[in-house]
């Protein structure tokens, strides 16, 4: 492998791996935020979890 090939391989693969890492971090945080939110309430006031409305 020439120095030129090595330069392109190192440069592009590091950028690619960092970009993938960013996407994975973003996805996992979005999921964490989504899960931490309480379920939204439906029109009749009952939670969308299947539980009966509170008395």
């Amino acid at each position: 492998m020439s120095y030129v090939d090595a330069g392109y391989a190192v440069g592009l693969s590091v950028l690619f791996l960092y970009a993938i890492g960013l996407l994975v971090r973003r996805r996992s945080l979005e999921r964490a935020v989504d899960l931490s939110m309480p379920p939204s309430e439906s029109a009749d006031g009952s939670a969308e979890t299947g539980a009966a409305p509170a008395p």
């Binding site: 090595a6 440069g11 590091v14 973003r26 379920p39």
Partner: protein, 278 residues
């Protein structure tokens, strides 16, 4: 019926422009690699090694001027009372992290160019040393961000640190003029502002600058969103943790003072311990 994830989504949607920038970055980077490796001719003096010019200077441009420039500007806006907002702090943090990746790549690709050209992987040349120092300074910035503190205190500390670290950027830029160095002088941004590169080589280099700039914009966009989400989950975790501590405190008090009925001679009715968490 359980809610679908998209129904429960409370995070702002991903911006559409970021996808467009990402696609453009991918296409322009692929075009730069194709032109750089297969289309442009070898140089009269450097031969095929000149092909690294389409990668190394654009990476260095992003690291030094875009990433750390944006970080310094954002820090300045944060420190200025009129524009103070955590937006600038997050933008600076995103920019610094991306800048560190690009600075490390600047050093790595520079070493791969230096070995066949100068005969050594590394030399304590002014340009190389000041660039390595820049990497260390901004790694310190990231370390400072991890020190637990109130978000505004952290933002102020980091803004000052970014401005101090940025002092090294002009030193890196002018190092090839101020000192005698092995590193070559500026090819494009020289004192006469007349590029010493021509034809297809110049166009490919220009495309390289555009491509890596787009990559930088995309990465900072994604990294900024990560910063927003991390702040949000961090704040929520803190709230839950505080509520748990309060609940534990209530339980401890109840355990230490006997039953709620006997506490304070039964004069005060105590609320039951708060149940926290799912």
């Amino acid at each position: 019926m359980s809610a679908r994830p998209e129904d429960r989504r409370v995070v702002a949607p991903r911006p559409r422009w970021l996808r467009i920038v990402g696609a453009l970055a991918l296409v322009s980077t692929a075009a730069t690699v194709w032109l750089g490796l297969w289309v442009t001719p070898p140089d009269q003096v450097q031969g095929n090694l000149v092909r690294l010019v389409y990668l190394h200077p654009p990476i260095a441009w992003v690291a030094l001027y875009l990433a750390f420039g944006l970080a310094a500007l954002s820090s300045l806006f944060y420190l200025w009372r009129r524009t103070r907002s955590l937006f600038w702090d997050r933008l600076a943090a995103a920019s610094v992290e991306v800048g560190i990746v690009f600075t490390a790549l600047t050093l790595a690709t520079g070493m791969l160019w230096g070995r066949p050209t100068w005969g050594v992987w590394w030399t304590w040349d002014a340009r190389l040393t000041s660039t390595a120092l820049l990497l260390v300074l901004f790694l310190g910035y990231l370390a400072l961000r991890r020190v637990p503190a109130d978000p505004e205190v952290r933002a102020r500390r980091c803004a000052v640190a970014a401005l101090i670290a940025f002092v090294d950027v002009p030193i890196v830029h002018f190092s090839v003029i101020w000192w005698q160095t092995l590193h070559q002088g500026a090819t494009v941004l020289n004192s006469n502002l007349s590029p010493t590169i021509h034809g297809s080589m110049a166009w490919t280099l220009l495309l390289g600058f555009v491509a890596l700039t787009l990559v930088f914009v995309w990465m900072v966009g994604v990294r900024y969103r990560i910063e927003v989400l991390a702040d949000r989950t961090g704040a929520e975790r803190l709230e839950v943790s505080l509520a748990e501590r309060w609940a534990e405190g209530d339980l401890d008090m109840a355990g230490a003072s006997g039953s709620p009925a006997t506490r304070n001679g039964g004069a005060v009715s105590l609320r039951p311990p708060t149940r926290v968490g799912p």
